[in-house]
Symmetry: C2
Subunit: 339 residues, 2 copies
C-alpha cells in the first residue's frame, strides 16, 4: 500500500467519523415540558401573596415531576400522564380532586391523551368515580382498540383495567360546592350561560404537553367541566383536535377555555394545520387561532404547546392562565397573571 | 354633446350593465345535496337485484327530500336534518331505526350537525331512546349554549325539547340482532377488533351535506355505532372535525368508516384545512386524506363533501359506499359499489 492510498484511507475514515458524530447530534433532541392549570379572568388584586405561593408551588411540583421523567429518558406520554396526575390530585385545579360540581351536585370528569409518534389517542367523558381520569384515558389509548369511551361504559373499562375508583364524595371540596350554590342562587334563566356574570370566572382545566429525548411529542388534558353544567354537556377536552392534539410532524397542544368555541374551531388541529400547511411557527400559528380567530368570536381561553424542536408557547386571550414550562436549555418559569 | 361623447357614454352604460349582470350571477348560488348510507367491503355478488333496488329507492327518496327543500329556498341545515331523518327512519341503514346492537344488546346512538355559516354545531352521543338523533343534535345546536351532550343528560334535554322518545325495542330489527349473535359466537378475544373477520362488514353510518341557494353549507351525520361495541365507545360521528364538519369558507363534509382512524386524523377538518391553507380543491383534499393518509394507516372508510361553489365529492377507500347526490345543474346519481 503506497502513501497516497494510506492518505486516502485516512481521509475516508475521518469523513466517516465526522458523519457519525453529526448523526449523533441530530439524534440528540431537545426536550421539555409545558403545563397549564386553566385560564380565566383572574385579577392579581383578588389573590393574596400566600395564595399565589400555594399555586406556584403546586405548578412547580407538577413541572418537576414531568421534567424529571424526561431528563431520565422517559417518554413524553409518561411525563404528560404523571404531571397531570399531580394536578388532578390537587384541590387547587378543576380536574380530578378539585373538579367543579354539575347542576345536580355531581362531578363529571373528562380527559384526553394523545401520542404524537403514532397519532394514537385515548379520551373519556362523563366519568364520576375514577380518581385520575388521565390514567383512564391512557388505558383507553393503550389497552383498547377505541379512542373514546363515555359514562358507565368507561367506568366498567376502568375497573377491568384496575384503575383506582373512589367514592363520589372524594371529589367534594367546600370551595367548589359554595361556587355551585352561589351560581344557582343567581340563576335567572336556567339555561343561560353564566360566563359573563362572574368576573373572576376560571376555566379550570389542567393540561400538559411534552417533547422527550427521542423526539416524541405528547399532549394531555383533564377537566371537571363547567360549574352548574347540565344535560351531560361535554366540552373540548376529550375532543381530539379541539382541546388536545399531538403530532410529531408539528407540535403537541393542550387548551383551556370556553370549550364550545374550541370545539367549533377545532382549535388544536387548526394550529397544527397552520404549521404543516402554511409553514407558520408554533407561536405564529397559536397566536393566529387564539388571539385572532377566537377573539373575533369572543371565545375566551388559552393554549399551551411545544413543537418538535422544543419551542414552546403559552398563549391566552384572558387576564391570566396558570402556566409554566421547563426546557433542557435551562429555561423555566411559572406564572399566573399577564406579564 | 358630440358623437364621440355619446359613444363614450354608451360604452360606459354598457360596462355598467355588464357589471350588474355579473354581480347578479355571483349572487345566484349553485345548490345541491350529497348523501351516504355507510361505506364497507360490500361486494356486488352478495346483493340480489331486488336488494339493490330497495337500497337505491331509499337513497333516492332521501336525496329528493333534501333537494326539494333546497329548491324551494330552504336552508342547508333544514335539508340536512330532513334528509337524515329519512335515512334514520329506515331499517336499511345503521342509524336510528336500523341501529346495530352493542355487546349488551342495546342500541347507543350518536349524531352531529354543523352550520357552516357560523360554525355552530350540535352533537349527541350514547343516547338510547331518541327516535331521531339528528333532531336532538340540531336542538342542542339551536336551543342550548352547548355543542355536545351525552347519555342520560342528553335524553333529559330531548324530553325538555319535546323531541320524540321511543321505547328501546323500537330499535329492534331481526337482522341486526342476528349479526350481534353471529359476532358474539365467533368472539375469541373479547376485546379484539372484529373488523377484519367479516368480509361483508359495513360501516353503516348515514350522512348528508348540502349547499343552499344562499351559499350556506351544512353537514350532518348519524350512526348506531359498531355492532358488539363495549364500554360506551364513541366513534367519529359526534366529533366535530372528525366525522362531521362544515365551514362556508371551504366545504361541508360527512364521514363513514372505522371511526377511531377518523378521530385520530381529524379527517374532515384536515380536508377543510388543506383547502383553506394549501388551496387544494375539494376533490384533491379529500383524496389526499381518504386515499393517501388513511390508506397508509389502513383506516377504512369514505367521505362525502360539497364546497361553496357546489362541487361535490364521494370518495371512499373501501369496496363500496351507499351514496348519491343531486345538484341544480341537473346532475344526479345513486350508487352502491365501485364504478
Amino acid at each position: 500500500m503506497n502513501k497516497t492510498k494510506i492518505f486516502i484511507l485516512l481521509l475516508l475514515s475521518l469523513a466517516l467519523i465526522t458523519c457519525s458524530v453529526q448523526e449523533d447530534k441530530t439524534n440528540q433532541h431537545n426536550f421539555g415540558i409545558v403545563i397549564h392549570g386553566g385560564a380565566g379572568s383572574m385579577e392579581k388584586a383578588n389573590y393574596t401573596a400566600k395564595q399565589i405561593t400555594v399555586y406556584e408551588k403546586k405548578l412547580n411540583e407538577a413541572i418537576e415531576t414531568g421534567y424529571s421523567i424526561l431528563d431520565k429518558g422517559g417518554s413524553s406520554i409518561e411525563a404528560v400522564e404523571q404531571t397531570i396526575v399531580v394536578l388532578e390530585n390537587s384541590p387547587l385545579f378543576n380536574a380530578g380532586k378539585g373538579a367543579v360540581f354539575t347542576s345536580n351536585g355531581l362531578n363529571e370528569l373528562d380527559a384526553a391523551i394523545m401520542d404524537g409518534s403514532n397519532l394514537n389517542a385515548g379520551t373519556v367523558a362523563g366519568i364520576t368515580t375514577v380518581k385520575n381520569p388521565i390514567k383512564l384515558a391512557r388505558a383507553v389509548m393503550e389497552n383498547s382498540k377505541h379512542v373514546m369511551m363515555i359514562g358507565d361504559g368507561a367506568e366498567k373499562f376502568a375497573k377491568k383495567q384496575n384503575i383506582e375508583i373512589v367514592e363520589p364524595n372524594y371529589f367534594y371540596t367546600e370551595e367548589r360546592w359554595k361556587i355551585l350554590q352561589r351560581i344557582k342562587e343567581n340563576e335567572t334563566n336556567k339555561d343561560e350561560s353564566y360566563l359573563n356574570k362572574y368576573s373572576d370566572y376560571k376555566f379550570g382545566t389542567v393540561g400538559c404537553v411534552a417533547l422527550d429525548k427521542n423526539g416524541n411529542l405528547a399532549a394531555g388534558t383533564s377537566t371537571g367541566g363547567m360549574t352548574n353544567k347540565k344535560y351531560g354537556r361535554v366540552g373540548d377536552v376529550p375532543i381530539i383536535g379541539a382541546g388536545t392534539y399531538a403530532n410529531n410532524y408539528t407540535c403537541a397542544l393542550s387548551a383551556t377555555g370556553h370549550g364550545e368555541f374550541f370545539i367549533r374551531n377545532v382549535v388544536t388541529h387548526d394550529i397544527s394545520a397552520l404549521m404543516e400547511y402554511k409553514n407558520l411557527s408554533l407561536e405564529e400559528a397559536t397566536k393566529e387561532v387564539v388571539m385572532n380567530k377566537l377573539v373575533k368570536q369572543k371565545g375566551a381561553g388559552g393554549v399551551i404547546g411545544i413543537d418538535k424542536a422544543g419551542n414552546i408557547t403559552m398563549t391566552f386571550n384572558t387576564n391570566g392562565m396558570f402556566r409554566g414550562f421547563k426546557t433542557n436549555d435551562g429555561n423555566s418559569t411559572v406564572k399566573i397573571f399577564k406579564d
